[in-house]
Symmetry: C2
Subunit: 122 residues, 2 copies
């Protein structure tokens, strides 16, 4: 991950509304949530939501797909994993055995994408 990507992701998440959107999508899992449902769940104006989803998408944190009239957004676990890894990269240089187990987990978070299909079996 490049520094610039990380900055984009972090500043995208550094906003109360967008962080709430992202956490809702993380919680929802890879099946995603329609934009309208996000707007209702968080009680925000549709145009604000759209702008914020667009910022998250441009930062690479969420992906979208159209489904009928709705557009479904989902968290990108791979990007998330990359960001967390970037933040802790070379953590405690000289004592990597303490911080590097991160890698194992990040791989699993990444795998979370295709792997975890919650409640509704779709």
């Amino acid at each position: 991950m490049e520094s610039k990507s990380a900055v984009n992701m972090l500043s995208a998440l550094g906003h109360e509304g967008r962080l709430a959107i992202f956490r809702l999508l993380v919680k929802a899992g890879p099946q995603g949530v329609a934009a309208g449902d996000v707007a209702r769940a968080l009680d925000v104006l549709p145009n604000s939501l759209s702008a914020n989803l667009s910022i998250l998408a441009h930062a690479g944190l969420v992906t979208s797909r159209r489904e009928g009239r709705s557009i479904i957004y989902s968290a990108d676990y791979g990007a998330m994993s990359g960001l967390l890894g970037f933040l802790m990269e070379d953590c405690c240089d000289g004592a990597p055995e303490i911080c590097s187990p991160l890698n194992a987990v990040l791989a699993r978070v990444e795998a979370c994408g295709p792997a975890c299909a919650p409640k509704s079996p779709a």
Copy 2:
């Protein structure tokens, strides 16, 4: 962790200069780095650095202590761990066994603080 703390941390890190500072401190480990050394390493004006360190400190991401004429800054691994945990909280609701190993790692990242004493035994 409250949402507001997380937003503060994320927006603090959502800035190229501050992210570079933070990563340098993460890499340096709990022993920390003097403000002047950070400024030299990253080639930034001392007043900019001071402002940015202040933002990081206010967000809870770094701590400082005076040592002679210098002020030593270090990354706060506990805060970092809290932030990462907050971001992935309830990840993939319904399939927590996939994402929750994060917790184990976050505990270790947190422990990184007192535990890892790199190269110079101080």
